[in-house]
Symmetry: C2
Subunit: 296 residues, 2 copies
Protein backbone atom coordinates (compact mmCIF):
# COMPACT_ATOMS: atom_id res chain seq x y z
CA UNK A 1 0.00 0.00 0.00
CA UNK A 2 2.82 2.40 0.83
CA UNK A 3 4.31 1.90 -2.63
CA UNK A 4 0.96 2.89 -4.11
CA UNK A 5 0.74 6.01 -1.93
CA UNK A 6 4.30 6.99 -2.88
CA UNK A 7 3.64 6.42 -6.59
CA UNK A 8 0.50 8.56 -6.51
CA UNK A 9 2.34 11.33 -4.62
CA UNK A 10 5.14 11.31 -7.20
CA UNK A 11 2.69 11.42 -10.08
CA UNK A 12 0.85 14.29 -8.39
CA UNK A 13 4.08 16.24 -7.89
CA UNK A 14 5.16 15.62 -11.49
CA UNK A 15 1.85 16.75 -12.97
CA UNK A 16 0.91 19.70 -10.81
CA UNK A 17 0.52 23.10 -12.35
CA UNK A 18 3.38 25.43 -11.33
CA UNK A 19 1.02 28.42 -11.38
CA UNK A 20 -1.22 27.01 -8.63
CA UNK A 21 0.04 27.13 -5.02
CA UNK A 22 1.11 23.68 -3.90
CA UNK A 23 -1.19 21.61 -1.71
CA UNK A 24 -0.26 18.18 -0.46
CA UNK A 25 -2.83 15.52 -1.29
CA UNK A 26 -4.14 13.60 1.73
CA UNK A 27 -4.55 9.82 1.68
CA UNK A 28 -7.09 7.70 3.52
CA UNK A 29 -6.36 3.96 3.40
CA UNK A 30 -9.12 1.47 4.09
CA UNK A 31 -8.08 -2.06 5.05
CA UNK A 32 -10.79 -4.60 4.27
CA UNK A 33 -11.05 -8.15 5.52
CA UNK A 34 -13.71 -10.51 6.82
CA UNK A 35 -15.18 -9.60 10.20
CA UNK A 36 -13.35 -12.61 11.68
CA UNK A 37 -9.97 -11.02 10.85
CA UNK A 38 -7.93 -9.59 13.72
CA UNK A 39 -8.22 -5.86 13.10
CA UNK A 40 -6.75 -5.08 16.53
CA UNK A 41 -3.40 -6.58 15.55
CA UNK A 42 -3.54 -4.84 12.18
CA UNK A 43 -4.14 -1.44 13.80
CA UNK A 44 -1.36 -1.96 16.36
CA UNK A 45 1.08 -2.91 13.60
CA UNK A 46 0.63 0.33 11.65
CA UNK A 47 3.54 2.78 11.95
CA UNK A 48 2.79 5.58 14.41
CA UNK A 49 4.41 8.28 12.29
CA UNK A 50 2.34 7.51 9.19
CA UNK A 51 1.34 10.40 6.97
CA UNK A 52 -1.93 8.85 5.81
CA UNK A 53 -5.27 8.24 7.53
CA UNK A 54 -6.45 4.70 8.12
CA UNK A 55 -9.66 2.80 8.69
CA UNK A 56 -10.57 -0.86 8.96
CA UNK A 57 -13.58 -2.13 7.04
CA UNK A 58 -15.08 -5.48 8.07
CA UNK A 59 -17.09 -7.52 5.57
CA UNK A 60 -16.96 -9.61 2.41
CA UNK A 61 -15.67 -7.79 -0.66
CA UNK A 62 -18.24 -9.61 -2.77
CA UNK A 63 -20.78 -7.19 -1.29
CA UNK A 64 -20.91 -3.41 -1.26
CA UNK A 65 -18.73 -2.21 1.61
CA UNK A 66 -18.17 1.44 0.59
CA UNK A 67 -20.47 4.27 -0.51
CA UNK A 68 -21.03 4.93 -4.19
CA UNK A 69 -18.16 6.63 -6.04
CA UNK A 70 -16.10 7.02 -2.88
CA UNK A 71 -12.88 5.19 -3.82
CA UNK A 72 -10.07 6.26 -6.14
CA UNK A 73 -7.84 3.21 -6.01
CA UNK A 74 -8.55 -0.38 -4.99
CA UNK A 75 -5.83 -2.98 -4.58
CA UNK A 76 -6.32 -6.64 -3.75
CA UNK A 77 -3.46 -9.07 -3.52
CA UNK A 78 -3.72 -12.88 -3.39
CA UNK A 79 -7.36 -12.88 -2.24
CA UNK A 80 -9.59 -13.18 -5.27
CA UNK A 81 -8.56 -16.79 -6.02
CA UNK A 82 -9.88 -17.83 -2.58
CA UNK A 83 -13.51 -18.87 -3.00
CA UNK A 84 -15.93 -17.63 -0.35
CA UNK A 85 -17.73 -20.92 -0.59
CA UNK A 86 -17.22 -24.28 -2.22
CA UNK A 87 -19.56 -25.22 -5.07
CA UNK A 88 -22.51 -27.11 -3.55
CA UNK A 89 -22.08 -30.03 -6.02
CA UNK A 90 -18.75 -30.94 -4.39
CA UNK A 91 -20.52 -31.77 -1.17
CA UNK A 92 -23.08 -34.18 -2.66
CA UNK A 93 -21.90 -37.78 -2.75
CA UNK A 94 -24.09 -38.66 -5.75
CA UNK A 95 -23.09 -35.65 -7.82
CA UNK A 96 -20.75 -36.10 -10.82
CA UNK A 97 -18.63 -33.41 -9.11
CA UNK A 98 -18.08 -35.56 -5.96
CA UNK A 99 -14.30 -35.24 -5.71
CA UNK A 100 -13.32 -38.69 -4.44
CA UNK A 101 -9.72 -39.05 -3.24
CA UNK A 102 -8.70 -35.49 -4.16
CA UNK A 103 -8.57 -32.14 -2.34
CA UNK A 104 -8.80 -29.84 -5.36
CA UNK A 105 -9.78 -29.85 -9.03
CA UNK A 106 -6.20 -30.59 -10.15
CA UNK A 107 -6.35 -33.91 -12.06
CA UNK A 108 -10.09 -34.11 -11.38
CA UNK A 109 -12.89 -34.86 -13.89
CA UNK A 110 -14.28 -31.89 -15.83
CA UNK A 111 -17.40 -31.78 -13.64
CA UNK A 112 -15.26 -30.89 -10.64
CA UNK A 113 -13.21 -28.28 -12.49
CA UNK A 114 -16.37 -26.79 -14.02
CA UNK A 115 -18.00 -26.47 -10.59
CA UNK A 116 -14.95 -24.59 -9.29
CA UNK A 117 -14.88 -22.39 -12.37
CA UNK A 118 -18.58 -21.48 -12.12
CA UNK A 119 -18.19 -20.53 -8.48
CA UNK A 120 -15.11 -18.43 -9.25
CA UNK A 121 -16.83 -16.59 -12.12
CA UNK A 122 -19.87 -15.89 -9.95
CA UNK A 123 -17.71 -14.46 -7.16
CA UNK A 124 -15.60 -12.29 -9.47
CA UNK A 125 -18.80 -11.03 -11.10
CA UNK A 126 -20.09 -9.92 -7.67
CA UNK A 127 -16.71 -8.42 -6.80
CA UNK A 128 -16.62 -6.34 -9.99
CA UNK A 129 -20.25 -5.25 -9.63
CA UNK A 130 -19.57 -3.95 -6.12
CA UNK A 131 -16.30 -2.20 -7.03
CA UNK A 132 -17.87 -0.64 -10.13
CA UNK A 133 -20.36 1.10 -7.83
CA UNK A 134 -17.74 2.17 -5.30
CA UNK A 135 -15.01 3.49 -7.60
CA UNK A 136 -15.16 6.97 -9.08
CA UNK A 137 -15.03 7.28 -12.85
CA UNK A 138 -11.36 6.96 -13.81
CA UNK A 139 -10.60 5.11 -10.56
CA UNK A 140 -8.22 2.16 -10.66
CA UNK A 141 -8.67 -1.46 -9.62
CA UNK A 142 -5.46 -3.48 -9.33
CA UNK A 143 -5.60 -7.23 -8.71
CA UNK A 144 -2.82 -9.72 -8.09
CA UNK A 145 -3.99 -13.33 -7.98
CA UNK A 146 -3.23 -16.85 -9.13
CA UNK A 147 -3.77 -17.69 -12.79
CA UNK A 148 -2.41 -19.83 -15.63
CA UNK A 149 -2.09 -19.60 -19.39
CA UNK A 150 -5.25 -21.12 -20.91
CA UNK A 151 -3.32 -24.12 -22.30
CA UNK A 152 -1.24 -24.94 -19.20
CA UNK A 153 -2.69 -27.81 -17.13
CA UNK A 154 -2.67 -26.95 -13.43
CA UNK A 155 -1.10 -30.37 -12.81
CA UNK A 156 2.17 -29.18 -14.34
CA UNK A 157 2.47 -26.19 -11.98
CA UNK A 158 3.96 -26.12 -8.49
CA UNK A 159 0.55 -25.54 -6.89
CA UNK A 160 -1.04 -28.35 -8.89
CA UNK A 161 1.72 -30.73 -7.79
CA UNK A 162 1.24 -29.64 -4.18
CA UNK A 163 -2.48 -30.49 -4.36
CA UNK A 164 -1.59 -33.90 -5.87
CA UNK A 165 0.87 -34.53 -3.04
CA UNK A 166 -1.72 -33.42 -0.47
CA UNK A 167 -4.22 -35.92 -1.87
CA UNK A 168 -1.69 -38.78 -1.93
CA UNK A 169 -0.52 -37.88 1.59
CA UNK A 170 -4.07 -37.94 2.93
CA UNK A 171 -4.80 -41.28 1.20
CA UNK A 172 -1.63 -42.74 2.79
CA UNK A 173 -2.95 -41.58 6.15
CA UNK A 174 -6.30 -43.25 5.36
CA UNK A 175 -4.48 -46.55 4.70
CA UNK A 176 -2.66 -46.16 8.01
CA UNK A 177 -5.98 -45.63 9.80
CA UNK A 178 -5.13 -42.07 10.89
CA UNK A 179 -8.13 -40.51 9.14
CA UNK A 180 -11.24 -41.81 7.34
CA UNK A 181 -11.53 -42.05 3.57
CA UNK A 182 -14.89 -40.23 3.67
CA UNK A 183 -13.11 -37.28 5.31
CA UNK A 184 -10.74 -37.04 2.35
CA UNK A 185 -13.52 -37.41 -0.22
CA UNK A 186 -15.47 -34.53 1.31
CA UNK A 187 -12.44 -32.25 1.74
CA UNK A 188 -11.86 -29.65 -0.97
CA UNK A 189 -9.70 -26.56 -0.82
CA UNK A 190 -11.62 -23.42 -1.88
CA UNK A 191 -8.95 -22.17 -4.28
CA UNK A 192 -9.34 -21.39 -7.96
CA UNK A 193 -5.82 -21.14 -9.30
CA UNK A 194 -6.19 -21.35 -13.03
CA UNK A 195 -7.95 -18.17 -14.09
CA UNK A 196 -6.67 -17.46 -17.59
CA UNK A 197 -6.32 -13.98 -19.10
CA UNK A 198 -9.08 -14.98 -21.54
CA UNK A 199 -11.44 -15.82 -18.65
CA UNK A 200 -10.68 -12.48 -17.00
CA UNK A 201 -11.32 -10.57 -20.23
CA UNK A 202 -14.66 -12.35 -20.54
CA UNK A 203 -15.79 -11.52 -16.98
CA UNK A 204 -14.61 -7.90 -17.20
CA UNK A 205 -16.36 -7.38 -20.54
CA UNK A 206 -19.61 -8.85 -19.23
CA UNK A 207 -19.45 -6.39 -16.35
CA UNK A 208 -18.94 -3.55 -18.82
CA UNK A 209 -17.83 -0.85 -16.36
CA UNK A 210 -14.05 -1.25 -16.66
CA UNK A 211 -11.41 -0.88 -19.34
CA UNK A 212 -8.46 -3.28 -19.16
CA UNK A 213 -5.23 -1.31 -18.82
CA UNK A 214 -2.88 -4.23 -18.11
CA UNK A 215 -3.38 -7.99 -18.02
CA UNK A 216 -0.26 -10.09 -17.61
CA UNK A 217 0.85 -13.47 -16.41
CA UNK A 218 4.20 -13.63 -14.68
CA UNK A 219 6.32 -15.98 -12.59
CA UNK A 220 5.97 -15.30 -8.87
CA UNK A 221 9.11 -17.40 -8.23
CA UNK A 222 9.11 -16.56 -4.53
CA UNK A 223 10.49 -20.00 -3.70
CA UNK A 224 13.09 -20.05 -6.46
CA UNK A 225 16.49 -19.13 -5.03
CA UNK A 226 18.81 -19.34 -8.01
CA UNK A 227 18.25 -22.84 -9.37
CA UNK A 228 16.96 -24.32 -6.09
CA UNK A 229 13.60 -24.09 -4.35
CA UNK A 230 13.38 -23.22 -0.64
CA UNK A 231 10.97 -26.04 0.24
CA UNK A 232 10.63 -25.37 4.01
CA UNK A 233 9.78 -21.69 3.39
CA UNK A 234 7.27 -22.65 0.71
CA UNK A 235 5.60 -25.27 2.92
CA UNK A 236 5.41 -22.85 5.87
CA UNK A 237 3.73 -20.31 3.62
CA UNK A 238 1.30 -22.92 2.25
CA UNK A 239 0.49 -24.10 5.75
CA UNK A 240 -0.13 -20.54 7.00
CA UNK A 241 -2.57 -20.05 4.13
CA UNK A 242 -4.38 -23.39 4.33
CA UNK A 243 -4.14 -24.87 7.80
CA UNK A 244 -7.41 -23.21 8.85
CA UNK A 245 -9.21 -25.26 6.19
CA UNK A 246 -7.51 -28.48 7.32
CA UNK A 247 -8.19 -27.93 11.02
CA UNK A 248 -11.84 -27.04 10.39
CA UNK A 249 -12.35 -30.23 8.37
CA UNK A 250 -10.15 -32.78 10.15
CA UNK A 251 -10.65 -31.26 13.59
CA UNK A 252 -7.13 -31.74 14.89
CA UNK A 253 -3.78 -29.99 14.85
CA UNK A 254 -2.00 -33.36 14.89
CA UNK A 255 -3.43 -34.30 11.48
CA UNK A 256 -2.23 -30.98 10.06
CA UNK A 257 1.25 -31.45 11.57
CA UNK A 258 1.43 -34.89 9.98
CA UNK A 259 0.12 -33.73 6.59
CA UNK A 260 2.66 -30.92 6.28
CA UNK A 261 5.53 -33.05 7.58
CA UNK A 262 4.86 -35.65 4.88
CA UNK A 263 4.16 -32.99 2.27
CA UNK A 264 7.52 -31.35 2.92
CA UNK A 265 9.27 -34.71 2.55
CA UNK A 266 7.46 -35.43 -0.74
CA UNK A 267 8.58 -32.08 -2.13
CA UNK A 268 12.17 -32.62 -1.00
CA UNK A 269 12.10 -36.08 -2.64
CA UNK A 270 11.27 -34.35 -5.94
CA UNK A 271 13.69 -31.47 -5.55
CA UNK A 272 15.21 -31.98 -9.00
CA UNK A 273 11.78 -31.32 -10.60
CA UNK A 274 10.74 -28.39 -8.42
CA UNK A 275 12.53 -25.61 -10.34
CA UNK A 276 10.68 -26.66 -13.50
CA UNK A 277 7.28 -26.77 -11.72
CA UNK A 278 7.92 -23.40 -10.09
CA UNK A 279 9.12 -21.77 -13.27
CA UNK A 280 5.66 -21.15 -14.76
CA UNK A 281 3.56 -18.07 -15.44
CA UNK A 282 1.06 -18.51 -12.62
CA UNK A 283 0.56 -15.00 -11.28
CA UNK A 284 -2.01 -12.69 -12.83
CA UNK A 285 -1.49 -8.94 -12.72
CA UNK A 286 -4.66 -7.11 -13.68
CA UNK A 287 -5.10 -3.34 -13.92
CA UNK A 288 -8.62 -2.09 -14.61
CA UNK A 289 -9.88 1.46 -14.93
CA UNK A 290 -13.44 2.40 -14.03
CA UNK A 291 -15.01 3.93 -17.13
CA UNK A 292 -16.29 7.48 -16.73
CA UNK A 293 -19.73 7.57 -15.18
CA UNK A 294 -22.15 9.55 -17.33
CA UNK A 295 -25.01 10.78 -15.17
CA UNK A 296 -28.45 11.00 -16.74
Amino acid sequence: MLNIVEAIKQKYEANKCPAIPSTRPEFQLFFNDLVTNDFNTLFKSLPEDRDYFVAGVPGSFLDRIFPESSLHFVYTSHSLHWLFKLPAELEEENSPAWNKGRVHYTNAPDDVADAYKSQFCEEVRKFLDARAKELVGGGMLVIIMSGTPVDLPLSSTANGKMFEFMASTLMEMVREGLIKESQVDSFNLPLYQSASPEEIVDIVERNGCFSIERLELSKPSSWLKGAAVDVPAWMMHARAAMEGNFIKHFGSNEVVDEVFKRLTKKHLDHSELLPQWCNQDVQLFIVLKRKKIISM
Copy 2:
Protein backbone atom coordinates in the same frame (compact mmCIF):
# COMPACT_ATOMS: atom_id res chain seq x y z
CA MET B 1 -25.68 6.51 15.88
CA LEU B 2 -28.73 4.80 14.40
CA ASN B 3 -30.97 7.59 15.73
CA ILE B 4 -28.76 10.08 13.94
CA VAL B 5 -28.92 8.12 10.66
CA GLU B 6 -32.71 7.86 10.95
CA ALA B 7 -33.08 11.57 11.71
CA ILE B 8 -30.97 12.54 8.70
CA LYS B 9 -32.94 10.17 6.45
CA GLN B 10 -36.22 11.69 7.62
CA LYS B 11 -34.96 15.21 7.10
CA TYR B 12 -33.74 14.23 3.62
CA GLU B 13 -37.12 12.72 2.72
CA ALA B 14 -38.98 15.75 4.06
CA ASN B 15 -36.86 18.24 2.13
CA LYS B 16 -36.33 16.54 -1.19
CA CYS B 17 -37.59 18.13 -4.34
CA PRO B 18 -40.60 16.24 -5.77
CA ALA B 19 -39.49 17.08 -9.33
CA ILE B 20 -36.18 15.22 -9.00
CA PRO B 21 -36.23 11.40 -9.13
CA SER B 22 -35.70 9.97 -5.67
CA THR B 23 -32.28 8.64 -4.68
CA ARG B 24 -31.59 7.13 -1.30
CA PRO B 25 -28.68 8.73 0.51
CA GLU B 26 -25.94 6.32 1.58
CA PHE B 27 -24.35 6.47 5.02
CA GLN B 28 -20.82 5.56 6.03
CA LEU B 29 -20.27 5.41 9.79
CA PHE B 30 -16.77 5.65 11.22
CA PHE B 31 -16.24 4.39 14.76
CA ASN B 32 -13.22 5.99 16.40
CA ASP B 33 -11.43 4.87 19.53
CA LEU B 34 -7.88 4.51 20.79
CA VAL B 35 -5.82 1.81 19.09
CA THR B 36 -6.01 -0.21 22.33
CA ASN B 37 -9.80 -0.53 21.96
CA ASP B 38 -11.20 -3.91 20.92
CA PHE B 39 -12.37 -3.20 17.37
CA ASN B 40 -12.87 -6.92 16.70
CA THR B 41 -15.67 -7.11 19.26
CA LEU B 42 -17.15 -3.87 17.97
CA PHE B 43 -17.25 -5.18 14.38
CA LYS B 44 -18.76 -8.52 15.44
CA SER B 45 -21.48 -6.73 17.41
CA LEU B 46 -22.76 -4.71 14.43
CA PRO B 47 -26.07 -5.93 12.98
CA GLU B 48 -25.56 -7.99 9.81
CA ASP B 49 -28.55 -6.51 8.02
CA ARG B 50 -27.41 -2.91 8.47
CA ASP B 51 -28.16 -0.46 5.69
CA TYR B 52 -25.09 1.70 6.27
CA PHE B 53 -21.38 1.17 5.61
CA VAL B 54 -18.97 0.98 8.53
CA ALA B 55 -15.31 1.49 9.27
CA GLY B 56 -13.20 1.52 12.42
CA VAL B 57 -10.68 4.31 12.90
CA PRO B 58 -7.93 3.81 15.47
CA GLY B 59 -6.24 6.82 17.05
CA SER B 60 -6.63 9.75 19.43
CA PHE B 61 -9.33 12.23 18.45
CA LEU B 62 -7.09 15.05 19.64
CA ASP B 63 -5.17 14.51 16.40
CA ARG B 64 -6.30 14.56 12.79
CA ILE B 65 -7.75 11.14 11.99
CA PHE B 66 -9.76 11.94 8.84
CA PRO B 67 -9.00 13.76 5.58
CA GLU B 68 -9.85 17.41 5.21
CA SER B 69 -13.54 18.23 4.70
CA SER B 70 -14.53 14.58 4.62
CA LEU B 71 -17.10 14.39 7.45
CA HIS B 72 -20.67 15.66 7.58
CA PHE B 73 -21.61 14.78 11.13
CA VAL B 74 -19.47 14.04 14.17
CA TYR B 75 -20.90 12.74 17.43
CA THR B 76 -19.00 12.09 20.62
CA SER B 77 -20.67 10.91 23.79
CA HIS B 78 -19.13 10.85 27.27
CA SER B 79 -15.54 10.97 26.02
CA LEU B 80 -14.39 14.55 25.96
CA HIS B 81 -14.33 14.90 29.78
CA TRP B 82 -11.76 12.08 29.94
CA LEU B 83 -8.30 13.65 29.86
CA PHE B 84 -5.74 11.95 27.62
CA LYS B 85 -3.12 12.73 30.20
CA LEU B 86 -2.96 14.07 33.71
CA PRO B 87 -1.42 17.51 34.20
CA ALA B 88 2.29 17.03 34.90
CA GLU B 89 2.12 19.18 38.08
CA LEU B 90 -0.04 16.55 39.78
CA GLU B 91 2.81 14.09 39.63
CA GLU B 92 5.42 16.31 41.28
CA GLU B 93 5.53 15.96 45.05
CA ASN B 94 6.86 19.50 45.55
CA SER B 95 4.34 21.16 43.28
CA PRO B 96 1.47 23.22 44.79
CA ALA B 97 -0.77 20.92 42.69
CA TRP B 98 0.40 17.75 44.52
CA ASN B 99 -2.99 16.29 45.37
CA LYS B 100 -2.34 14.72 48.77
CA GLY B 101 -5.06 12.40 50.07
CA ARG B 102 -7.42 12.98 47.15
CA VAL B 103 -8.10 11.27 43.80
CA HIS B 104 -9.58 14.21 41.93
CA TYR B 105 -9.83 18.00 42.07
CA THR B 106 -13.12 17.87 44.00
CA ASN B 107 -12.48 19.69 47.31
CA ALA B 108 -8.86 20.26 46.26
CA PRO B 109 -6.90 23.55 46.40
CA ASP B 110 -7.23 25.88 43.41
CA ASP B 111 -3.82 24.83 42.09
CA VAL B 112 -5.10 21.31 41.54
CA ALA B 113 -8.36 22.41 39.94
CA ASP B 114 -6.50 24.90 37.73
CA ALA B 115 -4.10 22.21 36.52
CA TYR B 116 -7.04 19.99 35.53
CA LYS B 117 -8.79 22.90 33.85
CA SER B 118 -5.70 23.89 31.81
CA GLN B 119 -5.26 20.34 30.60
CA PHE B 120 -8.94 20.07 29.67
CA CYS B 121 -8.89 23.36 27.74
CA GLU B 122 -5.75 22.32 25.88
CA GLU B 123 -7.29 18.99 24.88
CA VAL B 124 -10.61 20.50 23.76
CA ARG B 125 -8.67 23.09 21.76
CA LYS B 126 -6.84 20.30 19.91
CA PHE B 127 -10.08 18.36 19.44
CA LEU B 128 -11.84 21.37 17.88
CA ASP B 129 -8.84 22.22 15.68
CA ALA B 130 -8.80 18.69 14.26
CA ARG B 131 -12.58 18.50 13.72
CA ALA B 132 -12.65 21.96 12.12
CA LYS B 133 -10.30 20.60 9.44
CA GLU B 134 -12.21 17.36 8.96
CA LEU B 135 -15.79 18.65 8.82
CA VAL B 136 -17.27 20.11 5.66
CA GLY B 137 -18.64 23.64 5.85
CA GLY B 138 -22.11 23.34 7.39
CA GLY B 139 -21.17 20.00 9.00
CA MET B 140 -22.35 19.29 12.54
CA LEU B 141 -20.43 18.44 15.70
CA VAL B 142 -22.52 17.10 18.56
CA ILE B 143 -20.97 16.54 21.98
CA ILE B 144 -22.43 15.02 25.12
CA MET B 145 -20.16 15.28 28.14
CA SER B 146 -20.02 16.08 31.83
CA GLY B 147 -20.39 19.70 32.90
CA THR B 148 -21.75 21.92 35.65
CA PRO B 149 -23.27 25.37 35.99
CA VAL B 150 -20.42 27.82 36.63
CA ASP B 151 -21.57 28.46 40.21
CA LEU B 152 -22.20 24.85 41.27
CA PRO B 153 -19.33 23.34 43.29
CA LEU B 154 -18.49 19.84 42.05
CA SER B 155 -18.57 18.71 45.68
CA SER B 156 -22.35 19.10 45.76
CA THR B 157 -22.88 16.80 42.75
CA ALA B 158 -23.16 13.01 42.73
CA ASN B 159 -19.81 12.63 40.94
CA GLY B 160 -18.08 15.01 43.33
CA LYS B 161 -19.42 13.03 46.30
CA MET B 162 -18.24 9.80 44.69
CA PHE B 163 -14.69 11.17 44.37
CA GLU B 164 -14.82 12.27 48.04
CA PHE B 165 -15.95 8.77 49.04
CA MET B 166 -13.21 7.23 46.90
CA ALA B 167 -10.59 9.33 48.65
CA SER B 168 -11.91 8.53 52.13
CA THR B 169 -12.18 4.83 51.23
CA LEU B 170 -8.57 4.73 50.03
CA MET B 171 -7.36 6.56 53.16
CA GLU B 172 -9.21 4.00 55.33
CA MET B 173 -7.39 1.28 53.43
CA VAL B 174 -4.09 3.11 54.07
CA ARG B 175 -4.81 3.09 57.81
CA GLU B 176 -5.56 -0.64 57.61
CA GLY B 177 -2.24 -1.23 55.86
CA LEU B 178 -3.84 -2.49 52.65
CA ILE B 179 -2.20 0.17 50.46
CA LYS B 180 0.44 2.88 50.95
CA GLU B 181 -0.36 6.52 51.53
CA SER B 182 2.05 7.55 48.77
CA GLN B 183 -0.01 5.46 46.34
CA VAL B 184 -3.11 7.48 47.19
CA ASP B 185 -1.28 10.82 47.01
CA SER B 186 -0.02 10.04 43.51
CA PHE B 187 -3.35 8.67 42.23
CA ASN B 188 -5.56 11.07 40.27
CA LEU B 189 -8.47 10.26 38.01
CA PRO B 190 -8.13 11.93 34.59
CA LEU B 191 -11.66 13.33 34.52
CA TYR B 192 -12.71 16.94 34.10
CA GLN B 193 -16.34 17.05 35.10
CA SER B 194 -17.09 20.69 35.63
CA ALA B 195 -16.91 22.30 32.20
CA SER B 196 -19.36 25.19 32.34
CA PRO B 197 -21.28 26.52 29.33
CA GLU B 198 -19.24 29.73 29.71
CA GLU B 199 -15.97 27.77 29.43
CA ILE B 200 -17.24 25.99 26.32
CA VAL B 201 -18.30 29.27 24.69
CA ASP B 202 -14.83 30.64 25.38
CA ILE B 203 -13.00 27.65 23.83
CA VAL B 204 -15.32 27.50 20.80
CA GLU B 205 -14.96 31.24 20.15
CA ARG B 206 -11.18 31.06 20.38
CA ASN B 207 -11.24 28.29 17.77
CA GLY B 208 -13.41 30.49 15.55
CA CYS B 209 -14.54 27.83 13.05
CA PHE B 210 -17.86 26.86 14.64
CA SER B 211 -21.16 28.52 15.41
CA ILE B 212 -22.93 27.37 18.57
CA GLU B 213 -26.37 26.00 17.68
CA ARG B 214 -27.28 24.53 21.08
CA LEU B 215 -25.55 24.59 24.46
CA GLU B 216 -27.52 23.17 27.36
CA LEU B 217 -27.02 21.64 30.76
CA SER B 218 -29.42 18.91 31.75
CA LYS B 219 -29.89 16.22 34.38
CA PRO B 220 -28.65 12.83 33.18
CA SER B 221 -30.57 11.18 36.07
CA SER B 222 -29.73 7.69 34.81
CA TRP B 223 -29.56 6.40 38.38
CA LEU B 224 -32.70 8.16 39.57
CA LYS B 225 -35.60 5.71 39.57
CA GLY B 226 -38.51 7.76 40.84
CA ALA B 227 -37.28 9.18 44.12
CA ALA B 228 -34.63 6.49 44.75
CA VAL B 229 -31.16 5.97 43.29
CA ASP B 230 -30.11 2.55 41.95
CA VAL B 231 -26.76 2.47 43.76
CA PRO B 232 -25.52 -0.97 42.57
CA ALA B 233 -26.17 -0.06 38.91
CA TRP B 234 -24.43 3.28 39.37
CA MET B 235 -21.41 1.70 41.07
CA MET B 236 -21.13 -0.99 38.38
CA HIS B 237 -21.14 1.72 35.73
CA ALA B 238 -18.55 3.79 37.60
CA ARG B 239 -16.35 0.73 38.05
CA ALA B 240 -16.60 -0.20 34.36
CA ALA B 241 -15.46 3.31 33.47
CA MET B 242 -12.68 3.68 36.05
CA GLU B 243 -11.34 0.30 37.10
CA GLY B 244 -8.65 0.41 34.41
CA ASN B 245 -7.18 3.49 36.10
CA PHE B 246 -7.29 1.83 39.53
CA ILE B 247 -5.73 -1.44 38.35
CA LYS B 248 -2.96 0.36 36.47
CA HIS B 249 -2.07 2.41 39.56
CA PHE B 250 -2.64 -0.03 42.43
CA GLY B 251 -1.64 -3.10 40.44
CA SER B 252 -4.23 -5.50 41.82
CA ASN B 253 -7.82 -6.54 41.20
CA GLU B 254 -8.27 -7.20 44.92
CA VAL B 255 -7.73 -3.52 45.77
CA VAL B 256 -10.33 -2.53 43.18
CA ASP B 257 -12.83 -5.09 44.51
CA GLU B 258 -12.34 -3.70 48.01
CA VAL B 259 -12.60 -0.05 46.92
CA PHE B 260 -15.87 -0.56 45.08
CA LYS B 261 -17.34 -2.75 47.82
CA ARG B 262 -16.71 -0.02 50.40
CA LEU B 263 -17.77 2.70 47.97
CA THR B 264 -21.11 1.00 47.39
CA LYS B 265 -21.67 0.74 51.13
CA LYS B 266 -20.83 4.43 51.67
CA HIS B 267 -23.37 5.42 49.02
CA LEU B 268 -26.04 3.17 50.49
CA ASP B 269 -25.34 4.70 53.93
CA HIS B 270 -26.18 8.10 52.43
CA SER B 271 -29.17 6.96 50.41
CA GLU B 272 -31.41 9.72 51.77
CA LEU B 273 -29.08 12.37 50.30
CA LEU B 274 -28.44 10.70 46.93
CA PRO B 275 -31.54 11.96 45.09
CA GLN B 276 -30.52 15.52 45.89
CA TRP B 277 -26.90 14.97 44.74
CA CYS B 278 -28.09 13.27 41.56
CA ASN B 279 -30.68 15.89 40.78
CA GLN B 280 -28.26 18.43 39.29
CA ASP B 281 -27.62 19.80 35.83
CA VAL B 282 -24.37 17.95 35.14
CA GLN B 283 -24.68 16.88 31.51
CA LEU B 284 -23.62 19.21 28.73
CA PHE B 285 -25.30 18.96 25.34
CA ILE B 286 -23.38 20.91 22.73
CA VAL B 287 -24.31 21.32 19.07
CA LEU B 288 -21.80 23.14 16.88
CA LYS B 289 -21.95 23.88 13.18
CA ARG B 290 -18.81 24.20 11.07
CA LYS B 291 -18.87 27.66 9.50
CA LYS B 292 -18.77 27.71 5.71
CA ILE B 293 -15.26 27.39 4.39
CA ILE B 294 -14.40 30.22 2.02
CA SER B 295 -11.59 29.13 -0.25
CA MET B 296 -9.07 31.75 -1.35
